[in-house]
Amino acid sequence: MTAPLTLLDRLWSAHEVLRREDGTSLLWVDRHLVHEGSHHAFAKLAARKAAVAEPALTFGVVDHYAPTRGREGAMAPDVARMIDTLRRNADQHGIRLFDLMDPAQGIVHVIGPEQGLTLPGLLINCGDSHTSTHGAFGALAFGIGATEVAHVLSTQTIWQKKPDAMRITVEGALGPGVSAKDIALHWIARLGTGGAQGFAVEYAGSAVRDLSMEGRMTLCNLSIEGGARFGMIAPDDTTFAYLKGRPHAPKGIAWDDACADWSKHRSDPDAAFTREVHIDAAQIAPTVTWGTSPEQAVPVDADIPTPAALEADKAKAASAALEYMGLTAGKPIAGTPVDQVFIGSCTNGRIEDLRAAGAVLTGRRAKVPGIVSPGSAKVKAQAEAEGLDRIFIEAGLEWVASGCSMCVGMNGDLVESGKRCASSTNRNFRGRQGRGARTHLMSPAMVAAAAVTGAITDVRPMLQGRAA
């Protein structure tokens, strides 16, 4: 009798080329995604005069520095240089590049799935910590640094020590106006940013199964904010329906064979996890961050915590965060005025996210300025076909092209010092959206609500009588 296996066990052993005595595995990489930030890795390759081992398994995309306006015209010199360097490297090594004007361009973690490059059972690497997103398909997907990117480029393999398995089970139904983003912020607030450090997190339970692929990607995307390099969900019919017919997905008989294989990618019912966490979906409210770490989050109807009431090791960080954020402990988080809003990023820039924001904004005006940047050119086209762009524009928000944009500000889309931004992104770190910027993370629907009222607001009453 073989011991019961977790999804992690299955994915890991399927990719193990060999295991060293010290327990480190050499794993085969099925897909390697690169972007402008991969320039250090290509420079390492050039220094060794090495070639890319598997160009057909390597895909590049312009996203981190992608201008969101006036793409045809002149760009800031450093932005142009970063994009040109990627072009040159992709060209030299024969890598398919989703360039600025490509109709399939977009954020790397949005286009991988969209193009059918991301599939169940694959090992996917990218020099970006939110690579955990692709685990939503039942893939082993994790972010790597530049030295590791150079290693994957040269060998199509990666050395990695197997993490321990952790399962977060969310049972029950989410309330109206509550989304995958809120599940993620909820568990990270509960367990802390180090809560899943060293673990691969598998998400399970009825609330997770009920999520669309978009929601599952949002959930897996944020795993890293709880410390986990890997997030994953067992593939099912929702997964297969999303992938069928995607440009690079298997076709014909190969599709049927693949689905048969993929159906086996799950944890055995009696598999043992090193850590188990259970969450009741009904208890999750729309959740907002108040501080400078994703763990500093509260339900929108709660008060901003008083540092003295927190555990000692968190109290000091909380005081510093409140000072940076310009907030007063003990006051309700709702009603905090915001200066601007941002909807987009690999966390919440997919079509479903835009629909959720659109449902709130229909027939309403934003009190503050803001940007809506779809996760990909395809999402942009889809949103325009559905008339969502009109809703955003009529609300007074700016509808721009796709890229990482204000998630990280590398392309110049920045929040000014001291300004407060309600943002559908993933990091509220100091300076993430620009030096001195104050970021509040929340779901796209909550960002839309903040736009309408000009303050952090519970979206739920605003959705009454509307299809969310």
Binding site: G37, A50, L57, G116, H151, A254, D257
Partner: protein, 203 residues
């Protein structure tokens, strides 16, 4: 990259939790080529005011010779940007000591000869209290996994594979190329057993 097994240098204390990669090196500096040196970007917005002038009382400005940073919980959390490690290495650091590290940061550190030494929260407190705002000579021994500050010896945790790598200064690519045969055999097997794992051509 040269390996090392003992290090003796100045240690400083930065008793902050969650010093993430965006603080270690703000995104706006990351388009610079490494050859320019990343040391000047390290903790840029924490150590310099809006005009770019050094804040006189910031610990790294007072002790530019420091080679060991004693930090708080969850150091290097956040992005995979190896530039965060380059900034530390180029500023002269050989070791960071903290109760916990971001996973990707720690492996990036080891890939660049920077030791991510994990200590207990209590030991970290002791180190912070001992150092205060000053700097002091510390010795770190990779073989024994012990650091010494004054008359105090404190053990640290480090994955065995990382210890070996730091000591030998190994380049993973060279090591991996020794396994080229096993990799080729794996590839053939994967291709025959799971042909769907190769991307199909877009129409």
């Amino acid at each position: 990259m040269a390996g090392w097994s003992t290090y003796r240098g100045s240690a400083v204390s930065l008793p902050l939790a969650n010093v993430d990669t965006d603080q270690l090196i703000p995104a706006r500096f990351m388009s610079a080529p490494r050859s320019e040196g990343y040391g000047k970007f390290l903790l840029h917005d924490m150590r310099r005011d809006d005009s770019g002038a050094d804040s006189a009382d910031f610990v790294l400005n007072r002790h530019q010779e420091a080679g060991v940073l004693v930090a708080g919980r969850n150091f290097g959390s956040g992005s995979s940007r190896e530039a965060a490690v380059y900034a530390l290495v180029d500023a002269g650091f050989r070791a960071v000591i903290a109760p916990a590290f971001g996973d990707i940061f720690a492996s990036n550190a080891v890939n660049n000869g920077l030791l991510p030494a994990q200590v207990t929260a209590e030991d970290a407190e002791v180190l912070h209290a001992t150092l205060g705002k000053d700097c002091a000579e510390m010795t770190i021994d990779l073989e024994t996994g012990v650091m010494t500050l004054g008359n105090r010896s404190i053990p640290f945790q480090l994955r065995d594979s990382w210890r070996t790598k730091l000591i030998n200064g190994w380049d993973d690519i060279d090591l991996t190329l020794h396994h080229a045969g096993a990799i080729a055999a794996y590839k053939d097997k994967r291709h025959s057993q799971t042909p769907w794992a190769w991307p199909s051509a877009a129409d």
